[in-house]
């Protein structure tokens, strides 16, 4: 068994983006547009340029932040002081009186939701067999994520400790 890793392709590898080719990922099952002289040519790249690269980078940078935000949150809520058994409305009201915890929770909400939603998008892309399945699952994911982000932000911004 030869020990070369990934070097079995004929010819040198060239970066696809410098030669105007699209990256060889996420091909569609219907990806054969009409072009008389050039059948089965890939479509022109669409969408946000370099979206996948920025999504990849976001996962890593938000991941570093989330290690501290999420583990800190778990530590305070489950381990510190009396754990979950001390949490009630008054505890939340005291906590959110401080802008520090408001910003912490807002950052945790947005970073965790976007990080998680992008992870779910990857999972859907890996396991959905049909494009229609992928479309509906991604639509549901976008809807649920958007709803949760709007609801969470609304609650955090408009929180009123003297609510009856």
């Amino acid at each position: 068994m030869s020990g070369t890793e990934g070097g079995s392709a004929p010819g040198a590898w060239t970066p696809h983006h410098r030669e105007g080719r699209i990256a060889p990922v996420m091909e569609k099952e219907y990806d054969r547009p009409a072009s008389l002289d050039h059948p089965r040519a890939p479509r022109r790249p669409r969408g946000i340029p370099y979206f996948e690269k920025y999504a990849w980078l976001f996962m890593r940078f938000s991941g570093v932040a989330l290690v501290f935000l999420a583990l800190g949150h778990l530590f305070i809520m489950l381990i510190w002081d009396g754990g979950v058994y001390r949490i009630d409305f008054n505890y939340v009201a005291q906590r959110w009186a401080s802008p520090f915890w408001q910003i912490w929770d807002m950052a945790l909400l947005w970073l965790a939701m976007i990080h998680g939603a992008n992870g779910m998008r990857t999972i859907i892309g890996d396991y959905a067999r049909k494009d229609t399945t992928k479309f509906y699952l991604n639509s549901l994911l976008l809807l649920a994520t958007g709803f949760t982000l709007v609801l969470g932000s609304y609650v955090l911004v408009t929180f009123d400790a003297s609510i009856a």
């Binding site: 004929p10 890593r60 991941g63 979950v84």
Partner: protein
Amino acid sequence: MSTQTAGQSPGSTAVPAPRPEPSRRRTLYRGDPGMWSWVLHRITGATIFFFLFVHVLDTALVRVSPQAYNEVIETYKSPIVGLMEIGLVVAVLYHALNGIRVILIDFWQKGPRYQRQMLWVVVGIFLAVFIPALGMIGLHMWERFL
């Protein structure tokens, strides 16, 4: 006009010698601890994401009324939910530590070479953090339920 067949020169690739005996392992990756770390990363990540929905929804009750929030939170203070909270700590802690490993594999020059050793470091730190955390959560549960 450019066609797809450009760059294909026949006979340029060396034909590899046949293997002495067919291995049941089809790839270097399949069945390796590296694959299982990825499987666990995926399962814990999806689990945390579904928990997040529920958690934002229950916390949103603070906007409804203190009674509504306290009522729902009170149902969470049970031994079964306590066990689920321990499961959440397992999921988040593993996902965080293995995530740092993934970042190091991607960005650290020697990351890919030490990916396996880093997995054992992840397991070590996981145990070193999780066992005291389990002790503390267990202590809170003991004070509450026993």
